[in-house]
């Protein structure tokens, strides 16, 4: 990966507050999907709604959930699975927006193996060690689902948590047998000579399942309903613009705050952006699958936690 002048500075592009705008904080893990918020902010969509948006980067789902619950963040964006797990453990959360949903094409995620590896299909993963970013992650769930669907026994797979970049390295050096990564690491891995055996997210989940969502706390949902509505509208507007303009996405990905290298940005699969409201039924299916694979202890009624701003 080539150097990328000025990619430092994401969260710190001086957050000057214009008078009359309401401060509004979004918590996010650092990921390519963040270009939506950066774009909307840059275009002034949030200002139009009277919001002064601040983007804060955290490293994990729990940090984002905790931030929302204690009010540090007004909203957080994270993968649907950790949000559902938190709700099942009693966290007072509301889900109100889908930012990414499973698209009819492949490229959301990928299972990468070494070029000479004997693994050619999901089924071959049984008995192998697979690296991915976190153990309570969608990647693990969908990989297990995909293996099951292919007739394998998912309980025979050993998952280890590694940052995406390190997991590519671990596959290349033979320390693990496979890595489940997301864009732009799929491209990076392929460039490093790894082989992609499939996209388990697309294979395992129904098309249109919201796998990235925006959450807020029950309290904030009540107290700041108007602001949340404004945030939602501004974000959707940005997504619609971006979906219509893939080149814009590629160029945005190279900006300082996102930091994908030029090479990766040009070759990567585009992220699945969505402005549609959360499809409750499909999310319920995801929750049920999570329960089936032990991420959630008991049946969770998703509809109680999804709101429409």
């Amino acid at each position: 990966s080539g150097g990328n002048p000025g990619s430092l500075s994401g969260g710190l592009s001086a957050q000057s507050q214009s008078p009359g705008e309401q401060p509004f904080t979004l918590g996010a893990v650092s990921s390519i999907s963040n270009l939506v918020w950066e774009y909307a902010k840059g275009q002034g969509y949030y200002s139009d709604q009277g919001l002064d948006l601040k983007i804060a980067t955290a490293d994990s789902g729990p940090a984002l959930v905790t931030g929302v619950i204690n009010g540090t963040y007004d909203v957080s964006t994270l993968a649907a699975l950790p949000a559902l797990v938190a709700i099942s453990k009693g966290a007072d959360l509301r889900i109100f927006n889908a930012t990414s949903e499973v698209a009819p094409r492949h490229g959301t995620s990928g299972v990468l193996v070494a070029a000479k590896s004997s693994i050619t299909s999901y089924k071959d993963l049984v008995g192998k060690t697979v690296a991915t970013n976190a153990l309570t992650s969608l990647n693990v769930l969908v990989t297990k689902m995909a293996v099951k669907a292919a007739g394998g026994d998912p309980s025979g797979i050993k998952f280890v948590a590694l940052p995406f970049k390190s997991s590519l390295q671990a596959v290349a050096q033979g320390q693990v047998d496979a890595a489940v990564v997301i864009t732009p690491f799929i491209t990076q891995g392929e460039e490093a000579g790894l082989r992609n055996i499939g996209d388990p997210t697309a294979d395992a989940l129904q098309e249109g399942t919201s796998y990235n969502v925006v959450i807020t706390s029950g309290k904030t949902a009540q107290n700041k309903a108007a602001a949340i509505k404004g945030f939602n509208q501004a974000s959707d507007k940005a997504v619609d613009k971006l979906v219509a303009d893939p080149d814009m996405i590629r160029s945005l990905a190279q900006t300082e705050s996102i930091g994908v290298s030029k090479n990766d940005a040009e070759k990567m699969d585009l992220p699945d952006l969505s402005s549609k409201p959360v499809d409750v039924a499909k999310l319920q299916a995801l929750a049920d699958a999570a329960q089936q694979y032990g991420f959630i202890a008991s049946k969770l009624d998703v509809s109680k936690y999804v709101i429409t701003p």
Binding site: G3, S9, D59, A63, T72, F164, A172
Partner: protein, 279 residues
């Protein structure tokens, strides 16, 4: 110790007339330069021979180049400032309270025993593990960082101070007792200076710990600062930036140590390790 400080100032002035090579600062700078060259050469050799695969571990030049770019960004200095702010505040809180409590506990066996179990229970709790609780209670704030930094460093200083007090020569303490020197004065003029050699080591260790913990708090907890930038670079796979920043934290460590060693020479001028041996 104000009079003493004046004496040191005088000594320092005198020293400046020494030949260049005898000055410690010059020696230290020379060592830094030599070490940098050494590291650079080893790094380059490892990169070019492929021991460090370039795809996953950038070569020295590109990291240095990247560091140069970063240093030119005003935003970078703002980030650095945030890290240093929490570092400094946390270190002061932990250093002062750790020293005071440490000397008190070190000089009273009974008090030490009373708190012993609690100390041993709280001490090994990793800042990373209490992070979610700190986040919950304090949010992503300076206070959250401070809490973690103090948890990570207070115990170090405390323990060194306890050992420090115990290593104070019994006869000096006897002297204080015979001459009816009050408890407060005994603390300030005997126990504190007597235990300084160990406390100073403790604070030097703590200074670096504090830096590490503030970076970890930013990295894992999402507080703004250098650690947060490392996290971003890591999650987008931007290795140059990541290693440039890690390289920088090491440099910060060297600077911090240089400053603290200077202070130490002033405070511990009387200690055998710092006496001017006039050979």
């Amino acid at each position: 110790m104000s009079t003493d400080t004046a004496t040191f100032a005088a000594t320092a002035l005198r020293k400046s007339r020494e030949p260049l090579w005898r000055r410690r600062r010059v020696q230290f700078a020379a060592a830094v330069v030599i070490d940098l060259i050494l590291v650079y050469v080893v790094w380059e050799v490892l990169s070019t021979t492929g021991v460090l695969p370039q795809r996953f571990f950038p070569d020295a030049n590109s990291v240095i180049h990247r560091l140069g770019q970063l240093l030119a960004l005003p935003a970078f200095w703002a980030v650095l400032g945030q890290t240093l702010q929490s570092w400094g505040l946390g270190l002061i809180i932990a250093g002062v309270s750790g020293t005071v409590f440490g000397i008190l506990l070190g000089s009273s066996d009974r008090a030490y025993r009373f708190f012993r179990v609690i100390i041993e229970v709280l001490r090994p709790i990793p800042p990373i593990v209490i992070l979610p609780l700190a986040l919950l209670l304090l949010g992503v704030t300076l206070q959250m960082k401070l809490l973690l930094i103090v948890q990570g460093t207070f115990w170090v200083v405390l323990l060194q101070a306890v050992y420090g007090v115990r290593s104070v020569d019994a006869i000096t303490l006897d002297t204080a007792q015979v001459y009816g020197i009050s408890k407060v004065r005994r603390f300030l003029t005997i126990q504190l200076p007597g235990s300084l050699p160990l406390i100073v080591t403790g604070i030097r260790i703590a200074a670096i710990f504090a830096l590490i913990v503030s970076i970890v708090a930013e990295l894992v907890g999402g507080a703004p600062g250098l650690g947060n930038e490392i996290l971003k670079a890591m999650s987008t796979g931007d290795n140059e930036t990541m290693y440039a920043l890690i390289l920088l934290t090491g440099v910060l460590g060297v600077i911090i140590t240089a400053v603290f060693s200077g202070l130490e020479r002033i405070v511990l001028f009387w200690h055998p390790s710092h006496r001017e041996v006039s050979l």
